[in-house]
Symmetry: C2
Subunit: 180 residues, 2 copies
């Protein structure tokens, strides 16, 4: 179970509310780990019950109040320990690949459409990635240690993304050879 660890990782440097976490998870760490707000709120409560996170209510003007969570000493220790554990590779479960196993003359055009949509989505994402990389991670060797790790995650995202675009192009060419 790693959602809790992903959340704690997001709280390493900043204290955040559930709402802010949910928003941030749509970008940055969320590129590598997604979660709905329901899950995040649930996990936050569990973690603060365990005393791995501290919570405090913040009064706001013009907005509803929020509950801000931050890492405790115990939380940092537990997270650091988790990093030392070993992880199994998890297969990327992707509907699209299962669907491709079902390719026939009737659905080739539909699948080509899905691949085109994925391609566009990936283009947008790569644009974001690249923007972040150029702005904050231009010279990886000179970064402070932790940022090097973040850079590597970003680099994998970029490489895999570019690879995916190339695959989409190959796939679209091959799918075009399937006559309806």
């Amino acid at each position: 179970m790693a959602l809790s660890h992903a959340i704690m990782t997001a709280l390493l440097d900043d204290d955040l509310s559930g709402y802010e976490l949910a928003r941030d998870f749509e970008t940055s760490l969320g590129f590598f780990w997604q979660a709905s707000h329901q899950q995040i709120y649930l996990e936050l409560r569990k973690l603060s019950d365990k005393h791995w996170l501290s919570k405090r209510e913040v009064t706001q003007r013009g907005k509803p109040n929020k509950i801000v969570y931050g890492m405790t000493r115990a939380g940092r220790e537990a997270l650091a320990e988790w990093v030392f554990g070993s992880t199994r590779t998890q297969a990327a479960k992707d509907d699209l690949l299962v669907k491709l196993y079902n390719l026939d003359t009737g659905n080739a055009a539909h699948l080509a459409g899905e691949i085109t949509a994925r391609r566009e989505e990936m283009m947008r994402r790569l644009y974001l990635y690249e923007k972040i990389r150029r702005r904050h991670y231009d010279n990886p060797e000179t970064l402070p240690t932790r940022r090097k790790g973040v850079y590597l995650a970003l680099a994998l995202g970029i490489h895999q993304g570019e690879q995916f675009l190339a695959w989409c192009d190959e796939a679209l060419v091959l799918l075009a050879t399937v006559k309806a």
Copy 2:
């Protein structure tokens, strides 16, 4: 929910028992969709209750009998319909990337070890992929339609895998610059 669809996809051409499916899921389709035998048996029962799969007991000599499942007309229709639905991209949830966000001088060596292990695992997998590709998918344009789809899934696996190896090398170089 796509485990049911992955199972039906595996049964498109051959009738298989739960045990055989579980074994096959460790290779082939299983590269893109993993499931434990418990899940598979459960899903098989659900699908045959829905009459999307037929079941029959096969008497064996020298081994316990097995229950073999096969696609029904209704199952094929439901699967074909599912292929036409649209799919959301699911974020690859990978512990390793979350761990990298926690990079520090204390865990750099450990993470390098994990990456090395992943690299070796991917090498073995690529070896398998390549063997399959050379043997069965050497000339994609001339394949029958459905096999073209399978080829594309394999091609993505190969491309992403090679990309991953390159990333591992980059990561190991950068991690080596982190002083303990």
